[in-house]
């Protein structure tokens, strides 16, 4: 048995320290992202979620220019952008999308400016590029503490506003009538979203931040329409995909030529995408199946009515 296992797998998965850090930080980030992701997908704010990852990087390069810590540059810019997005105060999905686009475009413009200033003022400016794909297997132990702290804060905020958001998702006016501070709920949620996105982007990369925020939640909302259950499903899917992705990436080192291991971000994103596709296919197929299985008769009422007429 062990022989077979040795034959299939390269071994050392659980004895490598980098793997443990990746599993812990990646799993935790996936958990936080999945919880925040459920409301993000429900509210149609995937674009904002993605934009926040890149906008955080703007803060990262800005912080670098000012000589401030990268971490706080990320979090600061992310939270600021999140509040701006919410305060612009557009509540229709289409307008929100455009507002996000405008803020996003402006943020990217700032990146270009920082790159330019970096050239003229003489600072290094590679950070913005480096962050895109992160490095799950080489996490700086220094970020683990702040990442966990921010993650807990983000989870707490989402839990705090989750009832309000559930009611608001149903109908904003009903929520208002029930005394829900819709505006405050939106701002708090956006802050929670920003924290979740920034910590994920900072520790494991912007691409994974988007995938782990949207993917598991989108899968969960395909499977169930109850919010608490959707959160659980999303967490299981998110953490599961992360662990599996880390494992495949680790193993691919042994089988790929020249030890060009498949990047962990690709593995995780691909698994998340496959999960989403399968829930979509499952839904389509099951709908078609019930249609084909035919019509369940509701007694013989129709006949009786026809006789009556």
């Amino acid at each position: 048995m062990t022989g077979i296992r040795m034959g299939i797998f390269s071994g050392g998965f659980f004895t490598t320290e980098a793997v443990w850090t990746a599993l812990l930080v990646g799993g935790f980030a996936a958990l936080v992202a999945a919880v925040a992701g459920v409301f993000t997908v429900m509210r149609g704010q995937s674009f904002a979620g993605h934009a926040l990852a890149d906008l955080g990087a703007v803060g990262g390069s800005g912080a670098f220019l000012l000589g401030v810590s990268q971490l706080w540059g990320f979090v600061g810019a992310g939270v600021l952008a999140a509040i701006v997005l919410e305060v612009i105060g557009l509540h229709r999905v289409r307008e929100r999308d455009i507002a996000t686009g405008i803020v996003f475009g402006f943020g990217l413009g700032l990146t270009a400016l920082f790159l330019y200033l970096g050239t003229t003022l003489g600072h290094s400016s590679n950070q913005a590029v480096a962050v895109l794909f992160g490095s799950l297997f080489s996490i700086d132990p220094g970020v683990v503490g702040p990442v966990i702290g921010l993650g807990v804060l983000s989870l707490a905020l989402v839990m705090l506003v989750s009832r309000w958001l559930s009611l608001e998702a149903l109908d904003a006016d009903i929520a208002r009538a029930r005394g829900v501070p819709v505006r405050l709920a939106g701002v708090l949620f956006m802050v929670a979203l920003a924290l979740a996105v920034e910590l994920t982007a900072l520790s494991i990369g912007a691409v994974l931040a988007t995938a782990l925020l949207i993917g598991p939640a989108a899968c969960a909302l395909q499977v169930t329409s109850r919010i608490p259950r959707a959160m659980w499903v999303a967490v299981v899917v998110g953490v599961g995909c992360t662990v599996l992705g880390i494992f495949i990436s680790y193993e691919s080192y042994a089988w790929s030529p020249g030890h060009r291991a498949w990047p962990a971000s690709f593995c995780i994103v691909a698994i998340v995408f496959v999960c989403y596709l399968s829930t979509r296919v499952w839904n389509t197929v099951s709908a078609a199946m019930t249609r084909r299985r035919g019509v369940r008769r509701v007694g013989q009422v129709s006949e009786r009515i026809r006789e009556g007429n």
Partner: protein
Amino acid sequence: MFAPFMTDTWIAATIVALVAGCVGVFVVLRGDAFLAHAIPHGSFAGAAGAIFFGLSPLLGMGLAAAAAALVIAVLSRRGRRDAVTALLLALLLGMGVLFLTLSGQYSNQAYGLLFGQILGVSKGELVWVVLLGAVSIAGIFVLFRPLLYTSLLPEMAAASGAAPGGMTVAFSLILALATTASVPIVGALLMFSLLVGPPAAACVLAVTPGRALVWSVCGSLGIVWASIAISFGTDLPVGFCVATLSGVSYAVARGWVRARRRMTQTGRPDLESAR
């Protein structure tokens, strides 16, 4: 500023502004800003893949953009396609990393395609921009009414025979076409800003879709020209100028409309009686 080497830059910028102004109106009307961001950025994977397989990066970029457009259009559900877009963008970027890793080569070229050098436009590129830009503008004009109908009143459009699904596919492809030609020249940032900012401002200001189109084209032309001029004067990056002016144009348009509404009436117009 009008030195010989700048001529092609002016021409290319003008064409890109025309294309972005036209296509952008529908980006805004359909709420497709995310798509406008995702398609050019996701096509990075195509460039990386093409380098890996030894093909032309531009070809790879175009193919990836078209494939992304199709997949997003097919998977989108009832106008809600943001989750699908996000996932596909992440997948494409992930594939880009995979290709870069597998090739193990120096990969500046793949990233470089996303940045673009508006000051380094060659005649050969110009031909492509004109060609693809003309096709996408023609597509927008020919499909103008069905696109409008399906994006604003999808159910009624479906009832009168304009398929919303088909229009989504068509528009995504037009967007892919427009960006493939423009991004290697002006960069993903500049193209994205132009596709969203001036058209959004135009849609706030204009009363009819036709006028929105005209305002949008004028706005993006003005922004691009002004940006090149400012960049020439101050040496600030063109992309930054375009992004800033685009954002400012939208903010000014919203502020203007709000101020005008406050000045002209105390109540809201929709409280007026039907007669």
